[in-house]
């Protein structure tokens, strides 16, 4: 019989859960890490990491069978024959779209840390203060200065490469040497800076790909196949980074195929005593006990666990006394921007496949700028020379076509905007009253949409992109809007927000559930607002901070 008693239970092994497991185990706690999906062993289980292009059956294209079997995954790039096992499949894990909602999940050890885009940006004080100043939702219970040391802490260990730019909206961090801009990007960056009087910046994407080796990890090899798993450990994933550290302590037990159905809540102590696990393979129910629980199951799944907990006391679950559990769903709205071509530079090229692009931090509604919407957006993109897949309509078939496509084509550059979505009370997830998945667990019902503020912002997101590319001297500049459905940013946030008041928030400033102080939620669920930056680095920092707090509280006998 396996040990059923632990000091800490961590639910979910992705970016947040991996950090929680590492921090708690390193501080001497016996940790049980529960993951609902299969195990994925570092290197060994990266089955397509070194697959040559000619070994990819459909060369990256989608079969009709894939399209028909994956009505959800097909909505974006995630439907790919090389890593299809790492995205949760619709048939096993359905959800209900009251309004169009795209939910891309990674149900395996490592979660989406294997698959993520790796862009890593700090939030700034303007982000933490915005709700209070604009009277939106509730105030964040923390400010930048409280999280800054934790950003530094996680950046050093995770390995973030980037340049220190001294831009207040995008605080600098503990970076490894930046990857360089290519020659077109360099000139575009200079022209944008000049044209906009230093008010708009373009820098290299700060990315969780290492440019200097870290213990057990080789620096990035510029293969740009990150989402297939990196045999070099070149990017931050739970497998490459936090799990080896946690395992090295001898304090970690990892249990895959473990669906946490609910927390076990003790009415008398007002604490969780453990979790109920449904074994995804055997369908058996097992209970595990612990002093503290960290919910890091990804935003909506962490909230769903709270919703299924202590329903004998609160019908809508632990944390619902606030009236906000399941509310304030956020994401980043995107899929629009501009692209253009750059004349010249025919004598310039690059070597290697850089796994990041450029970043243009937010410039709207700061420094005196005022628009007909609040908050803002940033851009990601890249300049490159086209390859054999470009259209060369005028070239004759035969040797001329073969030769033409074998040489690099003209330079082009595209940028995509990522915008902040406000936390709206009426954007919700809830447990379906009738529908269950194949394990008999109630599935989630999504009911969220972008509103007037985001729609107005989208006009600028598109036009500003074109304006900057034109200012940089690009030709044939076109704007595009590929359409956005909620969730598509794969940055789902909110539903169990942090706050200062138990009446309006689920968590306090230490990510502690107001109604069960030994339960911590440190993934995207905790976000009080979304900012425009990619959020994963913030989850890492909040998780490490909360783990430190939890252990101190345990020592003091407060939990």
């Amino acid at each position: 019989m396996a040990n059923q008693d632990y000091d800490a239970i961590v639910v979910g092994s992705g970016i947040s859960g991996g950090w929680a497991a590492k921090e708690l185990a390193e501080k001497g706690l016996k940790v049980l890490l529960l993951e609902r999906g299969q195990d994925v062993e570092h290197v060994k289980d990266y089955k397509n990491a070194t697959t040559a292009p000619w070994e990819v059956p459909h060369r990256g294209r989608r079969t009709i069978e894939m399209l028909e079997n994956h009505p959800n995954l097909r909505r974006d790039y995630v439907l790919n024959e090389l890593n299809l096992d790492w995205w949760a499949h619709e048939a096993d894990s359905p959800y209900i779209e009251k309004k169009p909602f795209t939910w891309f999940r990674g149900y395996q050890v490592g979660g989406r840390s294997l698959l993520w885009g790796r862009q890593s940006y700090r939030l700034a004080d303007v982000d933490f203060e915005a709700n209070l100043k604009q009277d939106i939702a509730v105030d964040w219970p923390i400010r930048y200065k409280e999280i800054a040391p934790w950003y530094s802490y996680v950046e050093k260990f995770a390995g973030i490469s980037g340049s220190k730019d001294g831009i207040p909206i995008l605080p600098d961090g503990e970076f490894q040497p930046p990857m360089p801009l290519n020659c077109v990007e360099k000139d575009v960056a200079e022209r944008i800076k000049k044209h906009f009087g230093g008010k708009r910046h373009m820098t290299i994407g700060r990315v969780a790909n290492i440019t200097e080796a870290l213990p057990g990890r080789t620096k990035c090899q510029f293969r740009n196949k990150c989402s297939l798993g990196c045999p070099f450990g070149g990017y931050f994933s739970s497998q490459a980074s936090t799990l080896p550290a946690a395992l090295a302590t001898g304090n970690l037990t990892l249990r895959p195929w473990s669906i946490v159905t609910r927390l076990i809540y003790d009415r008398d102590t007002q604490k969780a005593t453990g979790v109920e696990v449904l074994d995804a393979e055997t369908n058996e129910t097992v209970e595990y006990n612990s002093k503290i629980v960290f919910l890091c199951a990804s935003a909506f799944n962490s909230t769903a666990i709270l919703m299924r907990t202590a329903t004998e006391i609160w019908p809508d679950g632990l944390g619902s006394s606030s009236g906000e559990l399941g509310h304030n769903v956020m994401d980043h709205h995107f899929r629009l921007g501009a692209n253009g071509t750059m004349e010249g530079y025919e004598d310039q090229y690059y070597f290697g496949r850089r796994p990041t692009g450029i970043y243009i931090p937010r410039f709207r509604n700061i420094d005196g700028d005022k628009r007909d919407y609040i908050r803002g957006f940033g851009y990601q993109g890249a300049a490159s020379r086209s390859g054999w897949s470009r259209n060369v309509a005028e070239i004759n078939f035969g040797a001329p076509l073969k030769e033409a496509l074998s040489e690099p084509g003209p330079w082009s550059m595209g940028v995509t905007a990522f915008g902040e979505i406000l936390p709206y009370h009426e954007n919700t997830i809830k447990l379906s009253a009738t529908e269950k998945d194949k394990w008999g667990v109630s599935i989630l019902e999504m009911n969220a949409e972008i509103k007037d503020n985001e729609k107005k912002m989208r006009v600028d997101m598109m036009n500003d992109a074109a304006e900057m590319l034109e200012a940089a001297g690009m030709k044939n500049v076109n704007t595009y809007d590929g359409g956005y459905t909620f969730g598509q940013g794969i940055h789902e946030m909110g539903t169990a927000r942090m706050g200062r008041d138990p009446k309006t928030s689920i968590l306090n400033g230490n990510n502690q559930v107001w109604d069960a102080k030994n339960v911590f939620v440190t993934d995207g669920a905790c976000m009080t607002s979304a900012a425009a930056q990619n959020p994963s680095l913030t989850y890492m920092a909040l998780t490490a901070r909360a783990a430190n707090f939890a252990v101190e509280e345990l020592k003091k006998g407060n939990l």
Partner: protein, 185 residues
């Protein structure tokens, strides 16, 4: 909808005398997928596609499309990644090419010279480029699959392009001289 397309193809195949590409399509049942059920290509169809591909990307100082098995590749992609409407356009388009070439040159495509084949396909391509609806669409499909199959093949990527599995570094700005090959993905 898929049934109707299959029926249309069946009519077309029968009309063309039953010797055409796709004539062996099975018409039993209704596939759940939006694809033609039982679409199969015979060795002669694959040989035909090999020659079409070779006319678009020929052997030069490196091997051409035929050497990478472009016929088999096209057939696999059409079978697995095309929906029934695209499959129908592809199959009937191939039959059109076969007939049209013969009408012009008074001999089968397979008996034509490389120059005749390339010139013919070029004309077809130019016609499609000028057409509002890219008609005949089959030439765009063939070109797309030939280019994709060739440049992602081992021969195409390693002999005609520069393939570096593990670059190990990123050089952001390096000089480029005309004739230097593109880096394969």
């Amino acid at each position: 909808m898929a049934m109707n397309r299959r029926d249309a193809l069946k009519s077309f195949a029968l009309m063309m005398g039953g010797t055409m590409v796709g004539a062996n399509v099975l018409f039993t049942g209704c596939a759940p997928e939006d694809q033609i059920e039982g679409l199969e290509f015979e060795p002669k169809d694959i040989a035909f596609l090999d020659e079409i591909g070779e006319s678009i990307i020929p052997a030069t100082d490196t091997p051409g499309a035929k050497a990478v098995g472009i016929g088999n590749f096209m057939v696999m992609m059409v079978t697995e990644t095309y929906n029934s409407e695209q499959q129908e356009i592809f199959v009937s388009g191939l039959n059109m090419i076969r007939k049209d070439f013969k009408d012009i040159h008074d001999k089968d495509f397979m008996d034509g010279t490389q120059e005749e084949r390339t010139a013919y396909l070029n004309d077809l391509n130019q016609k499609a480029m000028k057409s509002e609806d890219q008609e005949p669409k089959v030439i765009g499909m063939i070109k797309d699959l030939t280019v994709l199959g060739y440049f992602t093949s081992e021969i195409g990527a390693t002999q005609q392009l520069r393939y570096v599995e593990t670059p190990g570094r990123y050089d952001a700005c390096i000089p480029y001289q005309e004739g230097d090959k593109v880096f394969a993905i």
